[in-house]
C-alpha cells in the first residue's frame, strides 16, 4: 500500500463508515447529535470557502443561514412550494446578498469586510424582529415561523418532512460530502490557486493576472449560496425558526471559530474543528448552561486565542503531520515488502 493509496483508502473507509453508521446507531437522540455535528461541519466548510481560501474574515454567515431558512419556509407556508426548490431560491437570494456585501468591501482591507458582514447580520436581525410583513411575505417578527407537521405523521419527500431521523442524517451527510468534494475540486483548480495567492500576497497575485477582488467576490457568492442551503435544512429539521435562532452573531462567530481552530484554508480543517469543538461546547452547554452560563463560549474563545497564538494555521496542521508520519510508515513497509 503506498502513501497515496493509504490516504485514499482511509478516506473511502471513513465515508462508508459514516453512511453505514445509522445501521448501528439506532437511537434518535444520538442520530440527532450526529446530524447537528454534520450540519456544523457543512456550514464551517462553506464558511471556509471564503474565510479560509480567500483569506478574509466573514463574521456574519448566520445571515445566510437565516435567509435560507426564511426563504424556503415562507415559500412553503404561503405558496406551498416544496422546500427543495425553496432551498435553491434561498441560495440564490443569499448569493445576491453575499454579492452586495462583498462587492464594495472585498477590494479594501480585510477589516472592512469583517465589519460589514457583522453589521449586516445585526441589521437584518433587527429588521426581521421588527416587521411582520416584508411586502407580501409574512415573517411574523420576533415570534418566528412554525412549520406545521404533516397530518398523521405522514412522510413526504416533497414536504421535506420525515418521521424518523435517518432521512435527515442521509441528507445532511450527502450535502457534507458534496460540499467537501466541491471544496477539494476548487482547491485544485485555477480558482483555488487564485484565491489562495490573492489572499496571501494580493499585489503579487494581481501582477500574475489575478483579479483578486473578483475571485474573492465569486467565493463569497458561492459560499453564501451553499450556506443558505444549510439554513433550509435546519428549518426543516427543527420545524421552527425565529430571528434569535438563525440570525445571530453567536452562530456567525461559532462557525468562524470552529473553522479557524480547525484550520483556515484546509479542507479537513472545518471537519476536524467541528469534531473537536462541537462535543466540548455542546456538553458544556447542556450540563452547565444553568449553573455556568456562557461557559461553552468562553471555552471556544480561549481555545481560539491559544490556537492563534501557538498554532495560527489551526490544529489540522499538527494532526496532518501525525497522520502523514503514519502513512509514511505504511509507505516504508510497502517498500520493504517489495524488496
Amino acid at each position: 500500500m503506498t502513501q497515496q493509496n493509504f490516504k485514499r483508502n482511509c478516506l473511502i473507509a471513513a465515508t462508508l463508515a459514516a453512511f453505514a453508521l445509522p445501521l448501528v446507531v439506532r437511537s434518535a437522540t444520538y442520530l440527532h447529535i450526529l446530524i447537528i455535528l454534520y450540519l456544523y461541519a457543512y456550514m464551517t466548510t462553506t464558511w471556509n470557502l471564503v474565510g479560509g481560501f480567500a483569506g478574509v474574515l466573514p463574521l456574519g454567515h448566520a445571515v445566510f443561514v437565516g435567509i435560507g431558512a426564511y426563504t424556503s419556509t415562507v415559500l412553503w407556508l404561503q405558496y406551498g412550494v416544496t422546500p427543495w426548490i425553496g432551498m435553491l431560491a434561498g441560495g440564490v437570494l443569499a448569493g445576491a446578498v453575499g454579492f452586495l456585501i462583498g462587492k464594495p468591501t472585498l477590494k479594501m482591507r480585510g477589516a472592512y469586510f469583517a465589519l460589514s458582514t457583522m453589521a449586516f447580520v445585526e441589521g437584518i436581525r433587527v429588521m426581521v424582529e421588527n416587521i411582520d410583513m416584508l411586502g407580501p411575505f409574512n415573517l411574523n417578527g420576533p415570534r418566528g415561523l412554525n412549520i406545521p407537521p404533516l397530518a398523521h405523521g405522514e412522510v413526504n419527500f416533497w414536504a421535506f418532512q420525515f418521521a424518523t431521523k435517518e432521512p435527515y442524517y442521509y441528507i445532511i451527510l450527502t450535502m457534507l460530502v458534496g460540499v467537501l468534494f466541491l471544496t477539494w475540486a476548487i482547491s485544485r483548480s485555477k480558482m483555488g490557486f487564485y484565491l489562495k495567492g490573492g489572499g496571501e500576497e494580493p499585489d503579487a497575485a494581481q501582477a500574475l493576472g489575478v483579479n483578486v477582488a473578483r475571485y474573492k467576490v465569486m467565493a463569497m457568492v458561492l459560499s453564501s449560496f451553499l450556506t443558505a442551503m444549510a439554513g433550509t435544512f435546519l428549518a426543516q429539521l427543527t420545524l421552527f425558526i425565529y430571528p434569535k435562532s438563525v440570525l445571530t452573531l453567536d452562530l456567525s462567530f461559532e462557525l468562524a471559530f470552529i473553522a479557524l481552530i480547525g484550520g483556515r484554508g484546509s479542507i479537513a480543517g472545518p471537519i476536524i474543528g467541528a469534531l473537536l469543538l462541537r462535543p466540548v461546547t455542546e456538553f458544556s452547554r447542556i450540563y452547565f448552561s444553568s449553573t455556568l452560563p456562557g461557559l461553552h463560549l468562553i471555552i471556544l474563545g480561549v481555545v481560539l486565542i491559544v490556537v492563534m497564538l501557538f498554532q495560527p494555521r489551526g490544529l489540522t496542521e499538527p494532526l496532518t503531520n501525525f497522520f502523514n508520519s503514519i502513512a509514511r510508515r505504511f509507505d516504508a513497509s510497502a517498500r520493504e515488502e517489495r524488496k
Binding site: 483548480s189 485555477k190 495567492g197 500576497e201 503579487a204 501582477a207 500574475l208 489575478v210 483579479n211
Partner: protein
C-alpha cells in the same frame, strides 16, 4: 516596431512629481535598462507601466494598444509581466504551486498549467526545488522564483525590478545568464537595476533618469561617457559597483 511606448508620462503624488514627462520606447526583442540614483523615480515609472499607478498625464502604448490606466491583471493577460523589488512569494505554497499561479494566466486547465510551470522551472534550473516552500529558499532562489512566476504567464514584455539586488557576484552572473537566455528566445525585457556591471553588460540601450526626468538615452558605452550622467550618478557609483 516598438513593443512598449511611454509617451510624456507624468506621475504626481500630491505636490511631489515622481516622474516628469518621461518618454521612452522598447523595440521587440530588445533589453532596455532604466537607471538613476535612489529616489529618481525608477520604481514609480515601472509601476505606471505595470498598471499599479494610473499616471497623472501621458500615455502608455503596449503592443500597439493604449493601455494607460489599465489594471495589472489585465495587462498581465495582454503579455506584460513584472517582478517585485521586494519578493512576494506565496508563503504557504510550494515553489511549483507558486509558478502554477502564474501559469494559470494562459490556461484554465490544471494539467496544462502544471506542465507550463515545470517547463519554466526547468528553464531556470529550479526543477529540483519544486516541492520546497519559499521560506526555505536562499535569497537568490527567491529572486529566481519571482522571475519564474512572471515567466509562467508567457509574457511578451518582462519588467524586472532589481532582481539582482542583494545577490553575490557569482549569483549576479547566473541571473545575467538567465536574462540573456530569455532574450535569445525573443523576449523583450525592461530592467531596473542598481548593479552597474550587470546593466552595462545586458542592455542594448539604457535610459537614465534623475529627479523623474530623462537625462540621457543611448548605448551603454555612450551613457557611461555622458557628462550629465556622470555628474548625476555614475561619478560616484560606476567605479565602486
Amino acid at each position: 516596431m516598438n513593443l512598449l511606448e511611454v509617451q510624456d508620462v507624468t506621475m504626481r503624488f500630491g505636490g511631489l512629481i515622481a516622474v516628469n514627462d518621461l518618454s521612452l520606447n522598447i523595440g521587440k526583442g530588445q533589453i532596455l535598462g532604466l537607471i538613476g540614483p535612489n529616489g529618481a523615480g525608477k520604481s514609480t515609472a515601472f509601476n505606471c507601466v505595470a498598471g499599479l499607478y494610473n499616471p497623472t498625464a501621458g500615455k502608455i502604448i503596449f503592443d500597439g494598444e493604449d493601455v494607460t490606466g489599465q489594471k495589472p491583471w489585465d495587462l498581465c493577460k495582454k503579455g506584460l509581466a513584472r517582478t517585485f523589488q521586494i519578493v512576494k512569494p506565496f508563503a504557504s505554497m510550494t515553489v511549483l504551486d507558486n509558478v502554477t499561479v502564474g501559469a494559470f494566466a494562459i490556461t484554465d486547465r490544471r494539467d496544462l498549467a502544471r506542465k507550463k510551470a515545470m517547463e519554466v522551472l526547468e528553464l531556470l534550473d529550479m526543477a529540483d526545488k519544486r516541492n520546497a516552500l519559499p521560506g526555505a529558499l536562499t535569497i537568490a532562489d527567491r529572486k529566481r522564483l519571482e522571475i519564474a512566476r512572471a515567466l509562467a504567464t508567457d509574457p511578451k514584455l518582462l519588467l524586472l525590478d532589481e532582481v539582482m539586488a542583494g545577490l553575490r557576484p557569482t549569483e549576479v552572473d547566473d541571473v545575467i545568464e538567465i536574462i540573456r537566455k530569455l532574450r535569445d528566445r525573443g523576449m523583450t525585457i525592461f530592467v531596473i537595476e542598481h548593479i552597474m556591471r550587470a546593466i552595462m553588460a545586458l542592455s542594448d540601450e539604457i535610459v537614465v533618469i534623475h529627479f523623474g526626468k530623462k537625462i540621457c538615452r543611448g548605448k551603454p558605452e555612450q551613457v557611461a561617457q555622458d557628462e550629465n550622467v556622470i555628474k548625476a550618478y555614475l561619478g560616484e557609483n560606476y567605479g565602486t559597483a
